[in-house]
Each structure stands twice: as structure tokens, then as C-alpha cells.
């Protein structure tokens, strides 16, 4: 049996209501065309989407879990960056 596996692809789907594509999972496929077809079959069987992106997983660069402290913790102590200190006037809607 061959040990050459097809490349892994990450799948992003835009739902009917959503504006942005959301990551839904991954799959294997020999090339981009079949990755899109497989994504259609595996992830949109219950009419979940109207647009699909696939990206070969090797092209995704991710943060290192070991860097989490320096990457993310500094923002935890800066609550003034959240716009929560303002009184919203009565007339303002959709906030």
C-alpha cells in the first residue's frame, strides 16, 4: 500500500447569512479542483453554504502555542481598549 498521502486542505465556508468564510474542517484531495468537490460533498450536504474556499494546509502559518504568553496575555490587562466605558445615548440603535 502506498504511503504517499494526498495533501491536506483546510476548508472555509460562507453560509447563507454570513459575510465571511468560516473554517469548518479539513480534508485530503489530490488537487484544488477535487478539494473543492470533496468539500462540497463532505461539508455542504445540509445546505450549509453558498461559497467554499480551500487552502492547502502547508500554506497556513500559525502562532506557536509556546508564544501564547507574549502574544496574547498583554492585551488581557488593557480593558480600556474595549469601548465599554461610554454611556450609549438612547437614540443610538444597533449597538
Amino acid at each position: 500500500m502506498s504511503t504517499n498521502e494526498w495533501p491536506l486542505w483546510e476548508v472555509f465556508i460562507r453560509s447563507k447569512q454570513g459575510l465571511n468564510h468560516k473554517h469548518v474542517g479539513s480534508l485530503r484531495a489530490p488537487d484544488a479542483t477535487l478539494a473543492l468537490e470533496n468539500a462540497r460533498d463532505v461539508y455542504t450536504r445540509r445546505s450549509e453554504g453558498i461559497s467554499i474556499w480551500v487552502v492547502e494546509s502547508v500554506h497556513i502559518h500559525a502562532t506557536d502555542i509556546d508564544d501564547a504568553a507574549s502574544f496574547f496575555e498583554p492585551s488581557d490587562s488593557k480593558i480600556y481598549r474595549h469601548p465599554t466605558f461610554y454611556e450609549v445615548p438612547d437614540g443610538v440603535k444597533h449597538m
Binding site: 494526498w6 480534508l27 485530503r28 484531495a29 489530490p30 488537487d31 479542483t33 477535487l34 468537490e37 470533496n38 462540497r40 460533498d41 463532505v42 450536504r45
Partner: protein, 251 residues
């Protein structure tokens, strides 16, 4: 005459869908990869959906208050009018995909033409099914191209599948008095027209796949008249087991 011709015509369409769906269902849990396992069973479910609508239409034309279940599960082998192609065993992945490709390349132009039919329900079913079938053909074509133009082994297996299945392809364009009556009334397209479109698709895809059309022109038929290959009995015993063993059961 035209009522019984239309019944026969719609029954052929539904039997093709049902038997091919049953064959594809055999891949469930056995696909070469998860993605393809789901793709094949998706196609199978599309075909079952088409068969249900078509059997309902056939039953309405017949007017003997049979249901789609009775038509699907409670007829004898010689009453099924599907082409021999769809009952052929799955074989390897190449055999399954080539069988699918030959069928899809026939079904797509047929549905496109039937969308213009003055038989309203038939035109409506064709309009709904044409989108599914367009995807089926895209899927099977992509695979035929990749297998044919792939490795030495995938090429050889694909060519072997073509050489084996070619003898069953001519029957797709079978015509008899039923067809001629409906064609004369402008209700269905001529099969010669379908064959020309089929051949154009097959030629271009096989060429891209670096696969050859067999020179051997030996042809089989019989399915449209209810004369089936030895495989059909086994399919029906699987397909009909529940309804035969537990009549009228539902789940």
C-alpha cells in the same frame, strides 16, 4: 397508446436511477477515501430522489394507484427496464467511475432536452434533476481525467474499464415503438440527438484523459425489454429483501 408509451418511458428513466443508486450504495463504508465514500453515496441519494419523483409520475400516468414503493420493490426482474450498464458490478474504482461517467454523459443532455417537454411534470423533474446531474458529470469526468492521465496503473485500470463497459453503452440510446410515438408527438427528444451529444462529451473527456475509445463495436442490449444480465437478480434480492420479507413495512 401514448399513455402506455409515456408510462414505459418514465419507468425506464426511474429504473436506471434506482438500480444505479443501489449499485453506488454498495460503496457506502467501502470508498477508497472518506471524501469519495461520501461523494458516491451522495450521488446515490440524488438518484434515489430522482427515482421517487419519476416513479410517482409513472404511477400517476398508469392510474392503477400503485405507489413508488410498489414500483421500486414489488416488481419481478423482467418488469425492470433499466439499461444493462447500470446493473454491472462496481468492480474497482475505475470501473465504478467509468460506468458513472458513461451514464452521466447520457443523462445530462437527456434531462436538458426533457426540460422542454410539454409533459409538465416530466419537464419539472428534469429541471430539478439537471443540476444534480451536471455535478455528477463534473465529478465523474474529473476522476476519469485524473485516473487516465494519472499513474501507469490507474491508466491501465481505466482503459480496462472502458474496454469492458463499452459494449453496454449503445443501449443507452435504445428506441422502440414507445419512443417513436412520443417523439412524433414532440414529447421527448430523439435518441440519435442524445447519442451525438454523448459522443462529443465522451470523446473530449477521454482524449484529455489520454484514454482510447475501443475499436471493437460489439454491442449488448436487452435491459430496456426486461432481459437482464445475471447480476440483476442479486441486486433485486438485496433491494427487495425488506419488502418481500416484511410486506408493507415502513421506517
Amino acid at each position: 397508446m401514448q399513455e402506455s408509451a409515456l408510462f414505459e418511458y418514465v419507468l425506464r428513466l426511474s429504473d436506471d436511477s434506482l438500480i444505479l443508486a443501489q449499485r453506488l450504495g454498495e460503496w457506502c463504508g467501502h470508498g477508497p477515501i472518506l471524501e469519495e465514500d461520501i461523494a458516491l453515496t451522495n450521488i446515490s441519494l440524488d438518484l434515489i430522489g430522482q427515482a421517487i419523483s419519476l416513479y410517482d409520475l409513472a404511477a400517476a400516468i398508469e392510474g392503477k394507484s400503485r405507489t413508488h414503493d410498489q414500483l421500486a420493490y414489488l416488481r419481478y426482474e423482467n418488469e425492470y427496464k433499466n439499461v444493462l450498464l447500470v446493473e454491472q458490478p462496481n468492480g474497482d474504482f475505475a470501473m465504478t467511475l467509468l460506468r458513472q461517467f458513461f451514464f452521466d454523459a447520457f443523462r445530462l443532455p437527456l434531462y436538458e432536452a426533457l426540460m422542454q417537454s410539454p409533459v409538465e411534470q416530466l419537464a419539472a423533474i428534469a429541471a430539478k434533476s439537471v443540476k444534480e446531474t451536471r455535478y455528477h458529470l463534473k465529478h465523474s469526468s474529473e476522476w476519469v481525467i485524473r485516473m487516465g492521465d494519472g499513474t501507469e496503473e490507474s491508466h491501465q485500470r481505466s482503459q480496462a474499464a472502458i474496454d469492458h463497459l463499452w459494449r453496454y453503452t449503445n443501449e443507452l440510446f435504445y428506441e422502440d415503438a414507445h419512443d417513436h410515438a412520443l417523439q412524433a408527438a414532440g414529447k421527448v427528444p430523439s435518441m440519435a440527438e442524445m447519442q451525438a451529444k454523448w459522443m462529443a462529451t465522451v470523446t473530449s473527456v477521454l482524449q484529455e484523459a489520454t484514454l482510447e475509445i475501443p475499436k471493437n463495436n460489439w454491442k449488448f442490449d436487452g435491459g430496456r425489454e426486461g432481459r437482464h444480465s445475471e447480476h440483476m437478480g442479486y441486486i433485486l434480492s438485496d433491494l427487495q429483501y425488506m419488502q418481500r420479507a416484511y410486506p408493507n413495512m415502513e421506517w
